[in-house]
């Protein structure tokens, strides 16, 4: 989170904290959904934690992020209050949208989190607009837009990337390539292996990295963010990763093999990070246990807050449609 964030832990343990927090939060959301305590659609990002943590961790509060449906973790790392996030997901009055929309379509402007619509990739042009503002006003800020390899098929990806290239906008396109879009495998989504290959056609660099390797994502982001802040334009970072769950909580994911899942589970980003802590000489067992307790407490608290929050009143649906109603 960089400046403005109360740094109670050193970076190595803080990163671990976020990885675990995101996983705990995702996991809990899934469970609550299955128990009927969260309504609407839920899209688990379990297994993809290193992407959102790595992409957001070093951003500044004034930077903008544009998360999509599987980027719950991005909200948390950007400093959004877990209580409010859980309330948003439950459609409570205390959520960012006050119950007006579900799950992750809401945003929190003062944390630099801009909400999306469901229409995949439609937030990429919006991210370009924000980045254009940063450029016009000579502010050293960046806009970071997330999207899946499936969303990359939409025309909006193309129009946004093209525009970003022309104006060398301070925008970073983070593609979470988890090889499936709902049931559709990548081979039916595109005829190439790497979405990143498309960046060349827009006049900027496309970088491929392991999305299950936190350091790989962070290094790629560091390079891209510095370049963007310098005014040297956009970058596309493609993070190869995998979602452990189905597309949504309703999806049994029968279109993929158990072997494939196991292969990816053995590349788990959190376990990998735990090896790192160990190799670096930390008392890993202790950190793991302590962090586990901490994130559980945070998520317990969030659930408590959200569940005890009131539902919005029906007529509130008629408010905040306009900033200046006629």
């Amino acid at each position: 989170m960089g400046e403005g964030w109360e740094r109670v832990m050193d970076q190595d343990t803080e990163l671990y904290y976020y990885l675990r927090l995101v996983r705990e939060f995702e996991d809990r959301v899934s469970k609550l959904h299955h128990q009927g305590r969260i309504p609407g659609g839920v899209y688990s990002g379990l297994g993809q934690e290193a992407v959102v943590v790595g992409a957001v961790y070093r951003l500044k509060p004034e930077d903008f992020i544009f998360p999509l449906h599987r980027d719950l973790g991005a909200f948390l790392v950007k400093g959004v209050d877990p209580n409010l996030l859980m309330a948003q997901i439950m459609g409570k009055k205390t959520g960012f949208s006050g119950g007006r929309d579900s799950f992750l379509h809401a945003g929190v402007l003062d944390k630099g989190v801009i909400g999306s619509t469901s229409m995949l990739a439609s937030s990429l042009p919006v991210a370009c607009g924000a980045a254009l503002k940063f450029k016009i006003k000579k502010e050293p800020r960046v806009a970071v837009a997330f999207f899946g390899e499936g969303a990359s098929s939409r025309g909006d990806f193309h129009e946004a990337a093209n525009f970003a290239g022309i104006h060398k906008l301070p925008v970073i396109f983070v593609c979470e390539n988890n090889f499936y879009a709902f049931s559709t495998p990548q081979s039916m989504q595109m005829a190439v292996e790497d979405v990143a290959d498309r960046a060349a056609g827009y006049g900027f660099h496309g970088h491929v990295c392991s999305g299950n390797d936190l350091f790989a994502v962070m290094r790629a982001m560091e390079h891209a963010v510095n370049q963007a802040r310098r005014g040297d334009g956009p970058e596309l970072i493609e993070c190869k990763t995998y979602r452990y769950s189905g597309h949504s909580e309703h999806d049994m994911a029968s279109y993929r093999t158990k072997e494939e899942l196991i292969e990816w589970e053995s590349r788990d980003p959190i376990q990998r990070y735990e090896f790192f802590l160990e190799k670096k000489g930390y008392d890993a067992a202790k950190i793991i246990a302590e962090t586990g307790g901490k994130v559980k407490a945070v998520v317990d608290e969030a659930v408590k807050f959200a569940e005890s929050s009131p539902e919005p009143e029906g007529p509130e649906a008629m408010t905040e449609i306009y900033a200046t109603p006629v």
């Binding site: 309504p39 609407g40 659609g41 459609g91 409570k92 009055k93 949208s97 119950g99 007006r100 929309d101 579900s102 799950f103 379509h105 619509t117 469901s118 229409m119 995949l120 990739a121 439609s122 499936g150 969303a151 098929s153 939409r154 025309g155 909006d156 879009a181 709902f182 049931s183 559709t184 039916m188 989504q189 595109m190 279109y255 539902e311 919005p312 009143e313 029906g314 007529p315 509130e316 649906a317 008629m318 449609i321």
Partner: protein, 325 residues
């Protein structure tokens, strides 16, 4: 056989594909998965990947490719995974498909269907609840249908597939598994452009379509007990409207309540009201009234969605007002 609304759609697709080798399906996740709602379940197995085609997430491509397939001689049925996403493929429908024949001076045709799972009441929030039919029901060159029963779901879909013009087919998600009825096994057609009188009565008339039909039928039953006899007209086709049936209804009862799930402002109700105004003014014993969703996005939270959407009580309250007028 007894079929749910969604199974009737599935059955219609299967029958149409069996009858005509030129019918092909395209959309996101429709092949192996059978679609987000299983509307195309089992069709890949029966007809193979050349006729049940998974597409990338590209709504404009889907609709545009359907035009290309159609002009080249096929009968494509495209699926929007949710009706809400039709906004991403809007131009190909309102400009390309709708004018194809016109631009070719009648020398080409564009027989295609776009299936759109639409509607609220399923806690879908802003972008999985929309009723976008009014955007299309004003575009000459398109036809728009919105079945409310399993029988019509099948018959209108087969009619749409066999029609030589582009048809936007709005199927209502709320009805998918909630209604079930006897549906003929064989292929049959419900003609495009014809409304259905679901109930005859003399005091007031409900004009409706889609899931709102059931609110009207429930209200009509309640009114019956109160001694008010009501008629329920299910429009079924939204472009072109069955003007004759609408006008007849209005003339007969003199009191019309239009009910749809779509928002009131800019919804189809305004057009229907104006048609009655222009053609049955002298017969009206009360103003034509409209019940529909409130003028706001389709909010997510339970109390909000309830507040926004029409329901039996709201319909009944308006109907009573009308009856007493």
């Amino acid at each position: 056989m007894e079929l749910t609304y969604i199974k009737a759609i599935n059955n219609a697709l299967r029958q149409a594909m069996r009858l005509d080798g030129d019918v092909v399906l395209l959309g996101e996740d429709i092949a192996a998965l059978g679609g987000a709602f299983l509307a195309t379940e089992g069709l890949l197995e029966e007809f193979g990947p050349e006729r049940v085609i998974d597409t990338p997430i590209s709504e404009s491509l889907i609709n545009g490719a359907a035009v290309g397939l159609a002009v080249a001689g096929m009968r494509p049925v495209a699926e929007m995974q949710f009706a809400d996403f039709i906004a991403c493929g809007f131009d190909e429908l309102v400009n390309m498909a709708s004018t194809l024949r016109y631009r070719h001076g009648g020398g080409a045709k564009c027989p295609m269907v776009v299936r759109c799972p639409s509607g609220s009441g399923v806690r879908g929030g802003l972008f999985h609840s929309q009723n976008p039919e009014a955007w299309f029901a004003r575009v000459p060159g398109l036809k728009v249908v919105a079945p409310a029963t399993a029988f019509d779901a099948k018959g209108l879909l087969i009619a749409a597939i066999q029609d030589d013009d582009p048809v936007i087919y709005f199927e209502h998600k709320f009805l998918y598994r909630r209604i079930k009825e006897e549906v003929p096994e064989d292929s049959y057609i419900v003609p495009i452009g014809k409304a259905a009188l679901r109930r005859a009565g003399g005091d007031i008339c409900f004009i409706t379509y889609g899931s709102a039909l059931y609110l009207c039928l429930a209200a009509a039953e309640e009114l019956e007990k109160e001694g008010v006899s009501s008629e329920v007209l299910d429009l079924r086709t939204l472009l072109p409207l069955d003007r004759r049936a609408i006008i007849e209804c209005a003339k007969k009862t003199g009191k019309v309540l239009i009910v749809h799930e779509d928002r009131v402002t800019g919804g189809l109700g305004g057009e229907v009201s104006a048609i009655i105004m222009e053609n049955a003014f002298e017969y009206l014993d009360a103003p034509v009234m409209r019940v529909g969703a409130k003028d706001t996005p389709n909010a997510f939270a339970g109390p909000m969605e309830e507040y926004i959407l029409p329901n039996k009580d709201k319909v009944l309250a308006a109907a009573r007002k009308l009856a007493e007028y």
